[in-house]
């Protein structure tokens, strides 16, 4: 099974080839389902001038927020940011650029990028600042704007379990953007809590087929909770 064995043993191997100025797509929603180990590795490698596509930008000392500390991010493409002070500071300084994209449009842009759809029409954002400068077109009496797809040089994905072939399943709502991110990277790196043997995952339950996955690594995760809400 050598040809399909996607497992690498170190994060150095997992992110080999990442360079300054690249576009990196990262899965996750808030701090849930984020590729913690890959982010740490990008920080360690000191890669700079990154365009990062991710729904959020973490918090000050965790998640993608870590990459802000060393000013590694040039531009964020996100639907919601500013859960952290560094982000605000760098944005106001002009050190950081942000392209705010509606959450559903962002998910669809990644999916389209992976699926060979260069652009699609959506009503989301029509008549708002998001629609400015974009083509408007009417279908069946309703106005839509044209949105182009996104692909990344790297996609960084957090899964739950994967077999060695790179077939991935996700756990609960830690799924979120991860399956779309996985399809949209020229090189897709998946880190999981557990690597299993082929055959251990039911074919119909696989959420990211191995064809999308270039490198697979078993990581360790803090899985920090952003808002701990409890029923007493």
């Amino acid at each position: 099974m050598s040809g399909f064995d996607k497992v690498v043993n170190t994060y150095d191997e997992a992110l080999d080839g990442i360079r300054d100025g690249m576009t990196v797509i990262a899965g996750g929603f808030g701090l849930c389902g984020i590729p913690e180990g890959c982010i740490a590795q990008v920080r360690k490698m000191g890669i700079r001038e990154l365009t990062v596509v991710s729904n959020n930008c973490g918090v000050d000392d965790f998640g993608l927020g870590l990459l802000l500390e060393d000013k590694q991010i040039k531009k964020m493409i996100s639907s919601y940011v500013g859960e952290n002070a560094l982000f605000e500071e760098q944005l106001l300084n002009g050190e950081l650029e942000v392209e705010l994209t509606p959450q559903g449009t962002l998910a669809e842009k990644m999916r389209a990028g992976g699926a060979g759809i260069p652009a699609f029409y959506t009503a989301t954002g029509y008549g708002t600042p998001v629609g400015e400068g974009k083509e408007v077109r009417e279908f069946n009496g309703r106005k839509y704007i044209l949105e182009e797809s996104i692909v990344g040089d790297f996609a960084l994905v957090k899964g739950w379990k994967a077999d060695r072939y790179g077939n991935v399943i996700y756990r609960h709502t830690a799924q979120n953007f991860n399956p779309m991110a996985a399809t949209a990277g020229r090189i897709t790196v998946v880190e999981v809590e557990q690597v299993v043997e082929p055959g251990e995952l039911e074919p119909a339950h696989i959420q990211t087929p191995g064809i999308y996955v270039d490198r697979l690594i078993q990581g360790r995760f803090e899985k920090r909770i952003e808002q701990r809400t409890i029923t007493e």
Partner: protein
């Protein structure tokens, strides 16, 4: 008297129907879940990928992988489904969610809504709000009728950058229930003890009020 947050949520909850799939925004909209009539069931959609959101977890149930769109830890009800973000917004954008409830800074007589950005203040982003307002046929905006300084939030034309154009038809404020049609606000109900004159006076856009405006009962 102006409605309390709880009364706002109670009034919105009267728009629910049995079997509705509902997306509730952050803030007062979230409270609506507490006032679902007993004989009725609704299922809550959370746009990060959960249909069938349950209450907050107990300490024992707490799970970092189980959150809602507000990034709070939650549970899933029996019969829930979990999916990715593209699928979640396919549901939303495709008009499959029966009712969306969200807050706003302003609405206007054309059904425009501004809810995500105040120029000069730090812009945190629209999250899923633009998709929700563009996708739902049935949206209820809930907010105070006027700002603390008394400025009306029901305008002839929104002054802030829009979240969506021409998509709002129902507004529940602390003073009134208002519908938007044909380029006007239509006063349908008033908060207990609030006069039509006060409501019309605090509404900057054109408002039509019938001779008799029923008072909400709680």
């Amino acid at each position: 008297m102006a409605l309390s947050r709880e009364q706002l949520a109670m009034r919105v909850a009267r728009e629910l129907q049995d079997g509705y799939y509902v997306n509730l925004g952050i803030g007062i909209p979230t409270l609506v879940a507490n006032y679902v009539p007993e004989e009725m069931e609704v299922m809550l959609q959370s746009e990060n990928g959960l249909l069938g959101m349950g209450p907050f977890p107990t300490e024992e149930q707490l799970d970092a992988d189980m959150i809602n769109a507000g990034k709070q830890t939650v549970t899933a009800i029996t019969g829930a489904s979990i999916f990715n973000s593209a699928e979640s917004f396919a549901m939303i954008r495709g008009g499959h969610v029966d009712l969306t409830v969200l807050g706003a800074f302003e609405v206007d007589v054309e059904g425009n809504i501004a809810s995500w950005m105040i120029p000069g203040k730090l812009v945190k982003g629209m999250g899923g709000a633009m998709d929700l307002v563009a996708g739902a046929e049935n949206i209820i905006v809930t907010m105070t009728h006027a700002s603390k300084s008394g400025a009306s939030k029901l305008l002839a034309r929104c002054t802030l950058p829009l979240t969506g154009a021409g998509c709002i038809h129902k507004v529940v404020t602390d003073l009134a229930y208002v519908e938007i049609n044909d380029g006007r606000f239509w006063l349908k109900e008033r908060a207990p003890g609030v006069s039509v004159d006060e409501i019309v006076g605090k509404t900057a856009g054109e408002m039509i009020a019938p001779d008799v405006v029923p008072e909400m009962e709680f």
